[in-house]
Symmetry: C2
Subunit: 340 residues, 2 copies
């Protein structure tokens, strides 16, 4: 009997040790937006360009994690690289509003202390995610909007650019076509199928970039950045800069970054719902994500996807659209994908 | 034995019947902000004025519920009345930003369909809650900010006023004193106790108004409106217009409207957390509210309160500040209170 007990104790301790080890292996997951992304719409060259950009963002973030950096630093670095790429609807490459401007939103959250920062409608900060980080680290606030947010970020040393920095010919064409299709409705309107099917806008439709990470100390972080919707009006804000909707991290559960039809993600308080299903409903990350993305979201009429990592390093990347630019590094292995 | 079973069944059915009846009795709960509200700081005349204003708002909302109106209509009516009163930091009576403007935020949510609307930083709509309602009912969006939100609301027929409508001498004095105390920090800074203790600012500190209701059909709704923080800068947005943070309603659980140090309410995704504890953790409304307001909130360093009603008509009005302007009608009985 005593031998059996000792044996059981041994197995228990070994398990704990393995679990402990798992939790300290860094994990990084990123996305570059979800939408009607189909193989027949993308040339092999463009597909390679997206995969290269995703790989570079993963490598940049993972290098930080591997060197003992924090999840917060890793998600910031990964998102910055995607913001700098004109391929994604965030930073350089952001879509245009109805008034022909680029208005950028971003949010970041540190799961170790539930600190968070967000900016909405900024126009002059090269990397909006650094503005969100500055709000979190250098102010008493969580969310700043408009020119006030630009001013604050600039005063904190975030790199300032002319609004024209965000201009790309492809996105400008996207705006012109969207206006042609419907000068009043935004491209997100599913009743305007012609507009949605324009190749220039397809990425922009649900264009967002995001990253979630688990670092060697078991800390989680999430970051999201977006240019919003092509042809958007009225200072519309989507889910990306809303803590709990598009972005959330909590060491007790998981880190989540969303991409999709923002209004539905706000109404579902998507990212926090996943965390709460885990914390209070004892659901697994996979089950919680599926309940939201594959059930609650389409039931309301919305679509999109998200990336998530839990405190044990489990990854989820569900989406109910045709595709989602995404990638992950776990146990040192990189994988990137676009289609289903 | 058979008699005992029949008896038990009878008791069970009677209970169900009573519960069913309870669910169809309308309930309305309102708040007018939480903060360092102490009896010695308020004259009897002022106390009476607050209680009268709360009573009028309750009566206006309850008249709608009693006539078979919806929870959504009731919370809108109650909040509108409080916005029109210069006593509360919302609509007329809003505090001033650092730049001497009144920037108003509001949100509304319909628990029957999870539809929601929010505005942030508007300056020309007399009743910000009607702007939030217009966003919900007349646009595809959930959140609009700045002048775009003003334009949209005006186009939808919301009453437009000059920004000077929101001027009140008391709030202006509050701004001047806050600037005197600290021209850089906002009044919410607890490191500026002098500023916080000014009578002109005490209400403004956590000034917000809100209402939650359960209607005869069992539908829940929540509404919140605020002028933000005295001396606020950088387009700061608090929890009031953030769906899931300051405002949330879901027929499956409860309706919640918060008031307090907004940044902490955003980080806790306060209102949705309460709903999720009920839905996934099977907690009662009272237990879920206490866990957040009396434990999680002070643990992070924040304070404030909230009002909530669940789908069975249970009411919670927890706050961890000295006082909270609040009131409720249930079973036709009005009660209003300010202090602990």
């Amino acid at each position: 009997m005593r031998v059996l007990l000792l044996l059981l104790l041994g197995v228990f301790c070994a398990n704990q040790f393995v679990m402990g080890q798992q939790a300290t292996k860094p994990v990084l997951v990123i996305h570059g937006g979800a939408g009607t992304i189909l193989p027949q719409h993308i040339t092999p060259e463009k597909e390679k360009a997206y995969k290269d950009a995703l790989t570079q963002a993963l490598q940049a973030g993972y290098a930080i994690l591997n060197a003992g950096g924090t999840a917060l630093e890793a998600v910031t670095a990964a998102v910055k690289l995607m913001e700098d790429s004109p391929l994604f609807n965030a930073g350089k490459g952001a879509v245009f509003t109805n008034e022909g401007r680029n208005e950028l939103d971003a949010a970041i959250m540190d799961g170790s202390n539930l600190k968070a920062g967000a900016v909405a409608g900024i126009t002059t900060i090269k990397n909006p995610i650094t503005a969100a980080l500055a709000v979190m680290q250098k102010s008493e606030h969580v969310m700043m909007t408009g020119s006030g947010a630009d001013k604050f970020a600039a005063a904190q040393g975030c790199e300032v650019v002319s609004p024209s920095y965000f201009y790309t010919p492809e996105r400008w064409k996207g705006l012109l076509k969207a206006k042609e299709a419907d000068s009043l409705k935004s491209i997100l309107d599913h009743n305007t199928p012609g507009a949605v099917l324009q190749p220039e806008n397809r990425d922009g439709k649900y264009g967002t970039v995001g990253a979630v990470a688990l670092d060697a100390k078991g800390n989680l972080a999430a970051a999201t950045s977006t240019g919003g919707m092509t042809n958007k009006r009225f200072g519309r804000v989507g889910d990306a800069p809303i803590i709990g909707a598009g972005t959330y991290a909590n060491n007790a559960t998981c880190a989540v970054s969303c991409t999709g039809w923002g209004e539905y993600f706000i109404r579902l308080v998507m990212a926090k719902s996943i965390s709460d299903r885990m914390e209070f409903g004892r659901q697994s990350l996979a089950k919680a994500c599926d309940a939201l993305v594959m059930d609650a979201l389409p039931k309301l009429g919305g679509d999109g996807g998200l990336i998530a990592v839990d405190k044990n390093g489990n990854i989820a990347m569900p989406f109910n659209t045709a595709g989602m630019y995404r990638g992950s590094i776990k146990n040192g292995e990189i994988s990137v994908a676009i289609f289903k």
